[in-house]
Amino acid sequence: MDFTAFNAYMVCDDKIKRYQAGDIQLGYEFKCKYPTYRGAYICNIEELKVWVDGKEIEKDKMRFGCNNKWFLMSEIPEAYKEYWFTGSKATIRILDENGISSGEHTVKMFMKHKIPYTGYFGNYLVVDSECEKTLSVEE
């Protein structure tokens, strides 16, 4: 299928980073790339799901960081002038007051995204991308 080879790049190999304020645990973050050859308007992400160690993360616990800005999942559909550049790393932040344990964790990400120029005969190509990696926590 077209537009699928870059799925393997979607979850980056970077270590999981703790999100904290001083010693207070607030959650953790991992890096991701838009899984195709060009950049994307953030609102072209139609669905975003994350599983950590097999457990799906609730939407209200997820934040999306790009271009030094942070978005609630509910704000993504509005971000039509925010451009996620080709191959550049965005951040998925998971809010969890328990933080994350040291060691390795599986991170799986699913993204449904619209290819915004493909409206041939009135239909846009919408691609399902999925990527899973085992990442370790930065200490």
């Binding site: 299928m1 077209d2 537009f3 699928t4 080879a5 870059f6 393997a8 790049y9 790339k33 050859y37 060009r38 950049g39 308007y41 609102c43 072209n44 139609e46 559909p77 509005e78 039509y80 451009y83 550049f85 080709t86 191959g87 550049s88 619209k114 290819i115 915004p116 120029y117 493909t118 409206g119 041939y120 005969f121 846009y124």
Partner: protein, 323 residues
């Protein structure tokens, strides 16, 4: 018959995997294009410009200077018309016109004499752009890309007629995907990697070689995955027009996209019939660019774009010279 007037270029789009992974930066892509023998280049703005869709003058002038540094002709600023860039609605006429004018300005500033847009511009806006093109000295062409073909009504009934009256300012950029006739090697490999049975896939390919209709695949007792690939193979490659339809378009053609997905060698492309296409181009006397556009990166991240581009140029140059 005209002699070897066509020029060979490379779209930086071909280096998608190398650019995405940062093995090549913008300058690296240009340097590589030069090393591979390109006389000129095109750039997909939405891919290579980190300030897209509003690049600064500094970014545009740097691009212009880099093309000068590597002695590459700036052939075309390839704009994307992202009519679906919003989640709530498509762009309206004012917005489409604005993005198109912007791209024409960017093309001018970076030194390009051509800007490529897409089918969704609409006949009305396309025609209205001519005065602005003349003012900026930038020609405007619409890419004709699969699944569009010269037979699609908006082209037949509107776009070609507008081009005919434009004194060359408005034209077409045919992408050779419109003539693809057989699945490429990476697509077939994907089917095998997805667990499809080799004999079953070969049976589907044999039906295609024999020109049998898609309905025949249902006699092959395919699994759901095999059926998915069989339908994809037919959808993209069956019933596309004959390359002879290229000839009447060449008088409006600003550049040709030399699309290819995967070449095993430089002898032939089983997917796109360049053996038929190159003689048509040569016979017409077309003196613009054929821009190599390697697109295998949509299907695999393990191929070497250098090797693929070298094979492609060897193939089309030989076929052109032998025609």
């Amino acid at each position: 018959m005209s002699e070897n007037k066509m020029k060979y270029g490379i779209s930086l789009y071909s280096f998608a995997n190398s650019f995405h992974t940062r093995r090549l930066d913008l300058e690296g892509c240009l340097k590589k294009a030069k090393e591979l023998g390109a006389e000129g280049i095109t750039i997909v703005a939405a891919q290579h410009c980190d300030e897209y869709p509003f690049p600064s003058d500094a970014w545009l002038y740097r691009l212009r200077d880099l093309m000068g540094k590597y002695d590459l002709e700036p052939v075309c600023w390839e704009g994307y018309l992202d009519v679906g860039m919003r989640s709530d609605r498509d762009l309206n006429e004012d917005e489409i016109a604005e993005y198109t004018r912007n791209d024409i300005v960017y093309a001018h500033k970076a030194g390009f004499k051509m800007m490529k847009t897409q089918h969704s511009i609409s006949p009305k806006i396309f025609e209205s752009m001519r005065p602005f093109c003349e003012k900026l000295n930038v020609k405007l062409c619409i890419e004709m890309h699969w699944p569009h073909t010269p037979l699609v009504p908006v082209w037949r009934d509107h776009y070609f007629k507008i081009m005919e009256k434009s004194d060359g300012w408005l034209g077409v950029n045919p992408d050779m995907s419109i003539f693809q006739k057989f699945p490429h090697g990476l697509h077939i490999r994907q089917a095998y990697e997805a667990g499809c049975d080799k004999d079953k896939i070969e049976a589907v390919l044999q039906l295609m070689r024999e020109g049998k209709p898609e309905s025949e695949i249902h006699k092959l007792d395919l699994s759901s995955e095999e059926l998915k690939y069989a339908e994809e193979f037919y959808h993209k490659n069956y019933g596309n027009p004959d390359p002879s339809l290229l000839e009447p378009m060449l008088k409006y053609t600003h550049m040709i996209h030399g699309k290819f997905y995967y070449l095993d060698d430089d002898k032939t492309d089983p997917c796109i019939p360049y053996e038929e296409i190159m003689p048509i181009i040569k016979k017409s006397g077309y003196d613009g660019y054929i821009i190599a556009e390697y697109e295998g990166h949509h299907f695999s991240i393990t191929e070497d774009d250098d090797v693929q581009l070298t094979r492609y140029h060897n193939l089309v140059k030989r076929l052109y010279e032998e025609a």
